[in-house]
């Protein structure tokens, strides 16, 4: 299904290839055909294919980070954007852009990328630790505290980011606006390679944790009796989730609700069995974001809709549905 969607996404676009199919061009490209027009090559390979791959990578990581957080907090409302991790990451990324801009010309490109990326990771990690400390005592999470501390962090992030926008220069302003809106338009192959590396490292550690997250539903002490090292598990999830969210924010800005929508749909099908929903959210996250991105760049062609609008449109009602379902237990 994902492959099918990727093929469709390759077809959809504003650029006109003079009647030839994008596939023929991709085929020509792979065979190294010298007759291929440079502009065709650029659109297919550097713009469209890079963007599709980025949507797949980012969507997958956002969904998995949401599922992992929900396992850690034992609640389907825990996602990076709702509990403030995304804001924390955005805030530090914004600081890195504005302050880093002053000595930008002295740094090579790779360092510039990683400066924003590392800042976003630290921002997500700090926000995560803060939320966890505030909302969790002796292994039990207070859902209201968790969401409210997210609101607080988002408010702080919003005000400081606003201040940064006020003092920033024109070029930085464009970067900052992009961050707040969330977009996959800046996809490049360099970014995709970094994302792939982060994804592989994260999944090697996180995806086999399905059983452990199930056991956590019994409570931390009982999980320990089942031979699970609970403290280590929690630390791993905290760091890996912060890493994934930080990386996603650094490369695509804040794309909300993916971590909420995907696990919600999977829960309808597989209950809360993390052995299934953790690996499946990796795939369904890709499908969701790729579909959303394809729609967002074709629905108002030749212009483009910010992708966050579409994901929020889906995520908002699901957020409300979860709230209604858990009305009694909140």
């Amino acid at each position: 299904m994902l492959i099918l969607l990727a093929i469709v996404a390759l077809y959809v676009g504003v650029y006109d290839f003079n009647g030839t199919s994008p596939f023929t061009i991709l085929g020509q490209l792979i065979q190294g055909d010298p007759d291929l027009a440079l502009s065709d090559k650029y659109v297919i390979w550097d713009v469209r294919a890079a963007r599709i791959i980025m949507a797949i990578l980012i969507g997958s990581m956002l969904a998995v980070s949401g599922t992992g957080l929900q396992g850690l907090f034992k609640n389907p409302l825990a996602t990076g954007d709702l509990i403030g991790l995304t804001s924390g990451a955005t805030l530090l990324a914004a600081i890195a852009i504005v302050l880093g801009g002053h000595f930008r010309e002295f740094l090579p490109e790779a360092v510039q990328f990683s400066l924003v990326g590392i800042s976003a990771f630290i921002g997500a990690l700090v926000a995560m630790l803060l939320v966890y400390r505030i909302s969790t005592s002796s292994g039990k999470t207070n859902v209201v505290m968790m969401l409210l501390s997210g609101v607080a962090i988002t408010a702080i992030g919003f005000s400081i980011t606003g201040f940064l926008i006020y003092i920033s220069k024109d070029e930085q302003l464009r970067d900052l606006t992009f961050w707040n809106m969330g977009s996959l338009a800046a996809a490049t192959w360099t970014k995709n390679i970094v994302l792939t590396v982060v994804l592989i490292i994260s999944y090697i550690i996180l995806l086999p944790k399905g059983k452990a997250l199930n056991a956590m539903m019994l409570g931390e002490k009982d999980a320990q009796h089942l031979g699970i090292n609970v403290e280590r598990l929690k630390k791993q999830i905290v760091v890996i989730v912060a890493l994934m969210i930080g990386t996603c924010v650094a490369f695509s800005g804040t794309i909300g609700f993916v971590g909420l929508i995907v696990p919600y749909i999977l829960r309808l099908l597989f209950k809360s069995n993390y052995s299934f929903i953790l690996p499946l959210s990796a795939i369904f996250g890709s499908i969701l974001l790729l579909a959303a991105d394809t729609i967002s760049r074709s629905i108002v062609a030749p212009s483009e809709l910010p992708i966050g609008i579409l994901t929020a449109l889906m995520g908002g009602p699901i957020f409300i549905a979860i709230l209604i379902k858990f009305k009694k237990s909140l």
Binding site: G210, L218, K221, H225, G227, N229
Partner: protein, 257 residues
């Protein structure tokens, strides 16, 4: 098997457990009894390596229990908690399968399914296996967790130990007896059990040894005949009682009032 020496467990300055020593041999069924707040559950938690406070001297199979590898330990002992989670959005069979988590990596093997099914039959929940755990009654949930905890110890290792904290809560008479029979059968296979019980008569009937606790201290320890004397019981519970011989099985029978 397990040997604990002068355990002290404090909350602030209050001693919940005050110099408690316990020792248990293989094939023994130890019942911990006592009034509310006597420290029964705390003792069980400390013994099961659930809470760690300072240096406790607890030897499990001749090795400090805190030095055991968590995964390895889960094959030798399991624990049934008093407060089981009410909300687990999974099916009954998924919850019981958790007991087999220490044994497989990603997918349960044939023997894991067998162990799970066997315990579900014994605890009489097999017909509930496809139900949502959240829709069960309190007693049924207790049986699901009993099944899970016992399935965890279905392996070839000798001399295993199970901790159960009030496993009979919410159970009807038939299932109270069934649960205790499962535990007794387990101890007859050279394993041991430490069980917190409230029903003294059931404790007298099933347990090999009784540990009577009062305000964090051991009030009496020994066989049911030795511990269950009118003096010991009325002293510990602060309530008058009479002891007579059980007309059917000749165990001590405690009648309060």
């Amino acid at each position: 098997m397990i040997k604990a020496d002068h355990i002290v467990y404090k909350h602030k300055e209050f001693r919940i457990l005050d110099e408690v020593s316990v020792s248990l041999e293989k094939s023994e069924f130890l019942a911990i009894v006592g009034p509310n707040g006597a420290g029964k559950s705390s003792l069980l938690s400390v013994l099961a390596n659930e809470v760690r406070q300072g240096k406790q001297n607890i030897l499990f199979k001749d090795k400090q229990i805190s030095e055991w590898d968590v995964r390895e330990l889960s094959l030798h002992k399991s624990k049934f908690s008093q407060h089981n989670s009410n909300e687990i959005p999974l099916q009954v069979k998924d919850v019981v399968m958790m007991g087999r988590y220490p044994y497989f990596e990603s997918q349960p093997r044939q023997e894991d399914h067998e162990a799970m099914n066997k315990m579900m039959y014994e605890t009489d929940i097999y017909h509930l296996k496809d139900r949502d755990y959240n829709t069960l009654s309190g007693g049924e949930k207790q049986r699901v967790h009993l099944s899970r905890v016992m399935a965890q110890l279905d392996n070839a290792i000798d001399h295993k130990l199970v901790f159960l904290d009030e496993p009979l809560n919410n159970l009807d008479v038939k299932h109270q007896y069934k649960a205790l029979e499962i535990i007794r059968k387990f101890t007859h296979q050279e394993n041991s059990a430490i069980v917190v019980l409230h029903d003294l008569n059931l404790a007298a009937q099933f347990a090999d040894k009784i540990l009577l606790m009062k305000s964090g201290k051991v009030a009496a320890y020994g066989t049911p005949e030795k511990v269950f004397t009118a003096e010991n019981i009325s002293d510990a519970y602060n309530f008058p009682c009479t002891i007579c011989e059980h007309p059917v099985n000749a165990n001590p029978m405690i009648i309060f009032g």
